[in-house]
């Protein structure tokens, strides 16, 4: 069974007096427990696809099926309930949280909203989530802006897995982290995938990282799919012009990876 099936997805924006297609007739699918990477030059439509898949913006055309149901048909309370299964981790972990929030509140919200744990039980669940992502429970009362960038991204992952999702969208989720922290976070993501069979829609401009963590990759160019296939095959021998350009521009393709 496919987990997410996107067909003929199109999103247009007006720019001045002409319209541009940020996403143009894009179709793909993700299986349970699989990592699909999206790569492409800046402005090629990666983030737009992520936001469409999350129903943060609405497509002009196309269809999205998630866990066997028409995802675009959901609205209101039904959509909010379904969101438990489809989560996101943002690029900038500082911007992704309410500046007034504490770690505990950030993790309390999804547990409360989806009725996952009673009020009395939640502190224990929060502690367990923090430990699951390699943090300690004493971080809970700290303000979000008081912890390090790496810790913050771990909290973002803890929040994303709080509702036991089947798919997490990662839009440049490791790009803002320095190299050693990035390796640790990727390791954590791979571990979560092995343990909980979570699928990832993994957006990155780093082909080295994609090659080491993704099963399949889609290369986008100006809103269209230029090439797609097995991640190693595509990155080792790109067929499309944009694929060759991206590989040529990659500083050094780390072929070992985590």
């Amino acid at each position: 069974m496919t987990l997410l099936a996107v067909s003929n997805l199109t999103k247009r924006y007006r720019r001045g007096n002409k319209t541009i297609a940020a996403v143009d007739d894009v179709s793909f699918h993700i299986d349970p427990g699989e990592t699909l990477a999206l790569a492409g030059p800046s402005g090629s439509g990666k983030s737009t696809i992520a936001r469409l898949a999350l129903r943060l913006i609405e497509p002009d055309d196309g269809r999205i099926d998630f866990e066997g149901g028409d995802f675009l048909a959901l609205s209101g309370a039904a959509l909010r309930a379904r969101r438990a299964r489809l989560q996101m981790v943002f690029q900038d972990p500082l911007a992704a949280f309410n500046p007034r929030a504490t770690v505990a509140r950030v993790l309390d919200d999804p547990l409360r909203i989806h009725g996952i744990a009673s009020r009395g039980e939640r502190p224990r669940r929060i502690a367990a989530l923090l430990e699951r992502v390699g943090l300690t429970a004493d971080l809970a009362p700290r303000a979000i802006h008081e912890i390090s960038g790496g810790q913050r991204q771990r909290v973002a992952i803890a929040r994303a897995i709080a509702t036991k999702p089947s798919l997490i969208v990662l839009d440049e989720a490791v790009s803002a982290l320095d190299v050693s922290v990035r390796g640790e976070i990727l390791e954590l993501l791979l571990d979560l995938q092995r343990q909980e069979k979570i699928a990832y829609l993994f957006i990155s401009h780093d082909l080295g990282v994609i090659r080491s963590v993704a099963h399949r990759v889609i290369l986008l160019d100006a809103g269209r799919i230029a090439e797609n296939g097995d991640a190693r095959t595509v990155i080792d021998a790109p067929q499309s012009a944009i694929g060759k350009a991206l590989v040529a521009a990659a500083p050094r393709l780390n072929r070992t990876g985590p």
Partner: protein, 276 residues
């Protein structure tokens, strides 16, 4: 440096704080120092100030203690000013947040209503409202708030429009938070600082409006108000000018105090946000 010490470094803010503290002390001690009805007759009519030390500021046309009236008037001014400003800020923040966050038709409708209120001069609006509904403390508060909530609404909306595009609002949607919870729990608190920065001006304006309404005889008739005292004194302006001058000075000092202290607080918090 602590915010308090930074606040105390500006002489204007300190002057404002002292004036405001004096006003609050007057309002709080009014019924302790001058128990009983401040509108009761306590001595000969039109006694000038500093003649009789049991009536230090003299008496008015009917022989009422001016100092007692002044203290009780401080209470009315402060209560009406704060209540009207609070009502205006709350209504403005809620309307502005809903308009900015919902966008579309809701925004359009709410902003047309805001425009409509803003085109009518706020004092005229208050005057008309009190004339129709009848003067009482609550009505005066509503009347003043009616003309002042539009400013905070516009500022709140502008702030919400920029905040709602931030990642953390998208994050709140992704975890399934209800739109109203996002608007009022996640967005509104972060949109408040510039709205609260308007509060000193709004309180000062509300106190002045209350005085003007009372001056025109549209204040609560059961309460002593400075505006009412000035109006009373006008009849004997030539023979007993102090009856208008004393409450007039109190009014000017109060408005000045509220304004200076408020600006001091805004300054202090602005500096703090700039530094962090």
């Amino acid at each position: 440096m602590s915010p308090l010490r930074r606040f105390l470094r500006t002489p204007e803010a300190v002057a404002g704080a002292i004036l405001l503290a004096a006003l609050i002390a007057m309002a709080l001690s009014a019924s302790l120092l001058f128990p009983g009805d401040p509108q009761a007759i306590t001595g000969p009519a039109l006694l000038p100030p500093f003649q009789d030390w049991s009536l230090p500021l003299g008496t008015d046309r009917l022989g009422r203690d001016v100092l007692a009236e002044l203290f009780h008037g401080a209470r009315t001014s402060l209560a009406v000013g704060l209540a009207a400003a609070a009502a205006a800020l709350v209504v403005g923040a809620v309307v502005g947040t809903l308009a900015g966050f919902a966008g579309g038709l809701v925004d359009e409708v709410l902003m047309r209503i805001t425009d409509a209120f803003q085109t009518v001069p706020s004092f005229l609006l208050a005057l008309a409202f009190v004339s129709v509904v009848g003067p009482s403390l609550g009505v005066v508060v509503i009347a003043i708030a009616l003309g002042t909530w539009t400013g905070p609404a516009r500022v709140a909306r502008a702030e919400v429009l920029s905040i709602r595009e931030r990642d953390y609002v998208a994050g709140a949607r992704v975890i399934g938070m209800h739109p109203l919870a996002i608007a009022f729990r996640e967005v509104l608190p972060n949109a408040l600082p510039p709205v609260l920065a308007m509060s000193s001006v709004i309180v000062a304006a509300a106190i002045l409006t209350e005085a003007a309404l009372s001056f025109l005889g549209l204040g609560d008739p059961n309460r002593v108000t400075w505006g009412g005292m000035i109006a009373e004194g006008r009849a004997v302006l030539r023979t007993a000018p102090f009856l208008s001058i004393v409450p007039g000075i109190a009014l000017v000092l109060t408005v000045l105090g509220v304004y200076l202290a408020g600006e001091g607080i805004v300054e202090t918090t602005a500096v703090r946000r700039g530094l962090s």
